[in-house]
């Protein structure tokens, strides 16, 4: 933070682009703008708000353009096809120039006054700051869902996180350029950032009073979340050593299959014929299945090996 008046020239004002990806159940966007612009203005941040709209949200454009016309720093990016949160973030990052980026969900999660402190936490030793809603005042069901989800997240990540679904994140803009983001991984940005070597910090924020509603999702959504989590887990843990994972699984299968075959062989030698024993099929099936799984692991290793020279697998923080 600049110390004395002599240190602050007008173009030294800290700038932040606030990105609001509108993906699901948006609340009043102008409301959100006013609520979150106020603390930024008070803390003397130079800011702009960038709303990214999916095709179905076209009608939300007008009120925002009204704001822009009145001179508020608001921009609207209209996607021509469904991008999902990840695609929207990338689109927004490409068009933002400020040094810092703050993502806000299109609905109320945290009290607005905490965003200034979130931004302040981004510094030389912290690249990404995420908000954690604490203490939580919503229903026990929401809290239960959250706890279960984050318990699973803890399996995938070395750094413990408590509220990655919150979506309120402050980061250096170039983070989005350097982390490979695709599919549904925007939700797991903190995990991916840690993997890439960025410093991530979690800051407690007061929960917004309008965030109390009990949320029950369709079974399909839960399943998709778990699948995403499995995918992230695999990528984070085994991205450089797929054979470890596949090989373990595959050789386990082959061992079981091989065991069955050996038993059958012994019995055959002792006189019991093989041609009518379905167990033989099971033994062969497991045995060959193991090889198939290992073969996939080898493919994975091949892909890793072929791509290794392309970029360094490490990130340097500083040199002396």
């Amino acid at each position: 933070m600049p110390s004395g008046p002599a240190a602050v020239a007008s173009n030294d004002r800290r700038t932040v682009s606030v990105v609001v990806p509108v993906v699901e159940r948006p609340e009043d966007l102008c409301d959100i703008y006013h609520e979150f612009a106020a603390p930024l203005r008070d803390a003397e941040w130079g800011f702009e708000f960038v709303f990214v709209l999916e095709p179905w949200a076209r009608q939300l454009r007008d009120p925002l353009e009204q704001l822009a016309k009145r001179g508020e720093p608001v921009r609207v990016l209209q996607a021509s096809r469904d991008l999902g949160e990840t695609g929207q973030l990338k689109l927004a990052a490409a068009s933002c120039r400020a040094e810092l980026l703050l993502t806000l969900p299109a609905y109320h999660r945290v009290q607005a006054d905490c965003v200034a402190s979130l931004l302040d936490h981004v510094g030389p030793s912290t690249d990404l700051v995420i908000a954690r809603r604490w203490p939580r005042k919503d229903s026990w069901f929401n809290r239960l869902q959250s706890r279960v989800f984050h318990r699973l997240v803890g399996l995938a990540s070395e750094q413990p996180f408590h509220d990655i679904a919150c979506g309120v994140r402050a980061m250096r803009r170039h983070l989005l350029d350097e982390i490979p983001l695709y599919g549904d991984f925007a939700r797991f940005l903190p995990l991916l950032a840690v993997q890439e070597g960025f410093q991530v910090k979690e800051v407690d924020c007061a929960q917004h009073p309008r965030d109390r509603q009990t949320r029950v999702y369709s079974p399909g959504t839960y399943i998709r979340r778990v699948i995403d989590l499995l995918g992230v887990f695999f990528l984070l843990r085994f991205t450089y050593k797929p054979l470890r994972f596949f090989g373990l699984f595959g050789s386990g299968l082959s061992l079981v299959g091989g065991g069955i075959l050996i038993v059958l062989l012994i019995q055959r030698l002792m006189g019991r014929g093989l041609a009518d024993r379905p167990l033989l099929l099971l033994g062969i099936l497991l045995f060959t299945l193991g090889f198939q799984v290992v073969a996939l692991g080898l493919i994975g290793e091949l892909i890793v090996h072929l791509n290794a020279p392309k970029k360094p697998g490490y990130r340097v923080r500083e040199r002396v």
Binding site: D276, P278, Q292, Y314, R319
Partner: protein
């Protein structure tokens, strides 16, 4: 351009704050008569004061540099980072926990200058427990030497010297640093030598052997073998597997016909042998198709945009 006379010493460090100063001093003392040298300390995401202490040494001696990685990547990546940044024509890798003795470095370099591309140290009179560490270690080294066909006596000894050119095409990841000699031998024809080096018992920290380590080494060996022999033509490797599976399938096919011809229909109706035949041919086909995918992967990776 690398300065061919200079010796670059690369030492990865993880939570070694107590050892940093002593390490640097002993390197400085050992290298006094050895010609131009530089020391690259790589802080692999240490959580203690390793970086601060190393930085102090770097500021005091221009020959010492520190690279701080963004998080803990593991010894292999830390070494790779050091190699990438090394400016000397000769690169020496060493452990940061004082088990290796810097006094051995001049010997390694001298041997290298006799006309070798890689000189590996092997620990003699290892001060370790006999049964639980020395025997599995001996077994592992023999296994690795047999599979990779690179006769290194002591793969676990980090103290090695290389010519810079030999490292040029080395891109390590995961835990490949144990196999640097085999990796190097795979891509270039290198002359490799070994000399005995001193070994000090580990002062702090636990040893990391155990079953999971054996498993990891086996998996890495498999990967390396595949890469070494089939990097350019993976379809060949998978075809081998496919052919083997086909042979077994043929065997079961013969069995099927035999059963049809000789046994009572009841046994034949169980369809066990025909089923088995299909399974083996299925595996053969699957492996071949995976081989095709592998070819696609190799092809696409070669495509430079």
């Amino acid at each position: 351009m690398p300065n061919s006379a200079q010796i670059s010493i690369v030492i990865p460090l993880f939570d070694e704050e107590e050892n940093v100063q002593r390490l640097v001093r002993s390197v400085q003392a050992a290298m006094r008569e050895a010609g131009p040298w530089e020391l690259i300390l790589v802080d692999d995401g240490s959580r203690d004061a390793t970086f601060e202490r190393a930085g102090r040494e770097a500021n005091a001696d221009f020959r010492v540099r520190v690279i701080r990685l963004a998080r803990n990547y593991g010894q292999t990546m830390a070494m790779q980072a050091g190699f990438d940044s090394a400016r000397g024509g000769i690169v020496v890798s060493m452990d940061g926990d004082l088990q290796n003795d810097p006094e051995d470095i001049p010997h390694l370099v001298a041997k290298l200058r006799e006309g070798f591309d890689l000189v590996a140290g092997y620990r003699e009179s290892r001060r370790d427990r006999f049964v639980t560490r020395k025997i599995p270690s001996w077994l592992a080294n023999r296994l690795i030497a047999a599979i990779t066909q690179v006769p290194i006596r002591d793969n676990g000894c980090t103290l090695k010297a290389f010519r810079r050119e030999v490292l040029r095409d080395l891109h390590m990841y995961s835990e490949m640093h144990r196999f640097i000699p085999a990796l190097v031998a795979a891509t270039t024809s290198s002359r490799i030598a070994e000399i005995p080096v001193r070994h000090h018992p580990r002062r702090f920290g636990r040893s990391k052997y155990g079953l999971s380590r054996v498993w990891k080494v086996l998996a890495d060996l498999l990967t390396m073998t595949m890469i070494r022999w089939f990097r350019e033509r993976p379809l060949l490797m998978f075809s081998w597997g496919s052919a083997t599976a086909s042979l077994v399938g043929l065997g079961f096919l013969a069995g099927t016909l035999f059963v049809q011809a000789t046994f009572r229909p009841v046994k034949a109706a169980a369809l066990v042998f025909p089923g088995s035949t299909f399974l083996w041919f299925g595996l053969a086909g699957y492996l071949f198709m995976v081989g095709l995918i592998a070819e696609v992967a190799v092809r696409e990776a070669r495509r430079v945009a």
